[in-house]
Symmetry: C2
Subunit: 352 residues, 2 copies
């Protein structure tokens, strides 16, 4: 059987769940490679993918015999057959963080089951990457570094946030990415104080900080990197803030390894910022993979530990309303005794 | 008070709902113009928007005094204040088709309320457009027609689906659209038989049908249009299928007006296709507005009626697996005694 489904079955068994109904397309793609709409049914013995007539051919050409997935048309599966999928199952899992309240009611009624929460079982599997996934993320990160390098030439006085964001998208598309992993954030001057700024017509002026948060997708896997660079010079008042952010980014990178406590890592930054009269208003980071933001979420409320082969973003930032913001972020591979940044653009003062 | 919120309050009252918790960002933007993350709370007397510290400034600069919306920071609202929002309310509505099962549990617990389904009350309001919304959709449709016209020059033998799709996106962005309303479908030859084809490296060859389904966003509002055109000539076997699709598209356009039964309109096409030994495998259409697919969904299971100033897509199609597909789609404004297509690209045989 497909290795990912086999692992999922093991996990479900360990939490006394005898079957699962999977509807989140990202999870379906992760487990099966299927990109068409449908429902993946994990019964005691079988894996069934139900889809619509128009997708049947495409789905059948995606799955292999080794996957052991039975493909069927929704309209060929009777009410009784639906109810029989989980015969004698006490607990059938569902994706409580994806399924809407209305869909929950529908699934319960259609499959006549006792639906139980699976607590992100699949998302937790996704958090630890296999070598193929890591290769894809590495490729996405390499493209991101190349894009950054290109931007150092491209950005000039008078370029707008929108123009730079557009250029980022074009670069990724022309250089082999599937597309963006998220809409680039390009925030110039005072706009950089807003961590989620949407590119505007603000132009680059002398002495502006320019915060660039960008990533692309390669073979379905995301990268995520932020650098804050400067036009012409760096204001003296910004330097200590930049230094503090960078110091904390490097410091936490040293702590990132298997079994490191996520809470502790976040608190290192929170405490050091507080000592310097700043606040970490944005969470420190997040997992990256098929989605830009996924498990593990790196903040001081998270009581879990890092695992070998997780890929995470480490993105401390300080934001001074009305003035400027500094964020430095890398995509990082967690390893047994250390970590390896997969984005490697310069982090010292970059003045263009 | 903001007119849209006033209307929502009226509707809620008519179904005995005394308050509502709104979390769907599209609905929040529709009702308030706010594009930042947060929760809109409609209590008996007040409208409150709760958001995060980093979005406070941006939200406050979006709402006007006339909106009568109190803006607050999540972290400044105590547990008790949350529980007091709906004091003495028996029924508080939520978005059962948006809120996940897990969020439902969270909201129930946080606001200590009896949450009841609102049956798409806001989405139903959104289905009927005001004049400003219609103007925006018209602009998006005009750009779509212009793009089609441009493509007739651009598409040549050897161009690939991906190249054409990219050119569509570039056209929209260079010509004033916010962006795409959905990833363009460009399906050449046998690929057009798949209604949801994803552009590939398939090149345009002589006698190919080329199905192009595209739309852009203008000021947040979507367009949606499909044309199937031909390279060099149109195969004789395709002509009767094209004619049948076009006949039905024109026929249903004649039926589209206020109070027309959605079921009846769909059945006209279903029956005529059946008479000719084809099947309508894809629903006939859908509403268009802030989202490409929204209420009303046009299929023979929908028992509702069209209303004046709804905007819908009418997209009959016939798909012959392994051979070709023909789809013709317009964005259409429903009016009192007729309808007006807002996309107006040629629908006769277009041979390039």
């Amino acid at each position: 059987m497909n290795e990912k489904i086999r692992l999922l079955r093991e996990r479900l068994k360990s939490i006394n769940i005898e079957g699962m109904i999977i509807t989140n397309p990202v999870n379906i793609k992760y487990l099966t490679g299927i990109e068409n709409e449908g429902t993946l049914i994990i019964t005691r013995r079988e894996n069934v993918f139900l889809t619509y007539t128009m997708f049947l051919e495409s789905v059948k050409s995606t799955v292999t015999i080794n996957d052991e997935i039975i493909v069927a048309d929704f309209k060929d599966v009777s009410k009784e057959e639906c109810e029989n999928f989980f015969l004698f199952c006490d607990n059938v899992g569902f994706e409580e963080n994806y399924v809407t309240y209305k869909q929950y009611q529908y699934l319960k009624q259609k499959y006549k089951v006792n639906l139980v929460e699976t607590e992100n079982t699949i998302e937790k599997l996704r958090a630890v990457k296999d070598s193929e996934e890591i290769e894809n993320i590495k490729k996405a990160c390499e493209l991101t570094d190349k894009c950054f390098n290109y931007l150092l030439e491209y950005i000039k006085l008078g370029k707008t946030e929108k123009e730079i964001a557009f250029e980022i998208e074009m670069f990724f598309r022309k250089n082999g990415a599937d597309g963006l992993s998220f809409e680039p954030i390009v925030a110039i001057g005072e706009n950089s104080a807003n961590p989620h700024w949407k590119p505007s017509d603000r132009e680059v002026r002398m002495a502006d900080p320019i915060l660039i948060d960008m990533g692309c997708k390669y073979n379905g896997y995301c990268s995520d990197m932020t650098r804050t660079i400067f036009m012409g010079c760096i204001l003296e008042e910004i330097k200590p803030v930049y230094d503090l952010v960078l110091k904390n980014q490097l410091l936490t990178n040293k702590e990132i390894k298997e079994y490191a406590s996520i809470k502790t890592i976040s608190q290192i930054v929170e405490n050091d910022f507080k000592l310097n009269n700043y606040r970490l208003i944005h969470s420190l980071g997040h997992g990256i993979g098929m989605e830009t933001h996924e498990i593990p979420f790196i903040n001081s409320k998270n009581d879990t530990f890092l695992k070998d082969k997780m890929v995470i973003a480490n993105e401390p930032g300080i934001y001074i309303p009305g003035k400027y913001g500094i964020r430095i972020e890398d995509t990082i591979l967690v390893e047994k005794n250390s970590c390896t940044p997969l984005t490697n653009s310069p982090k010292n003062y970059v003045i263009i």
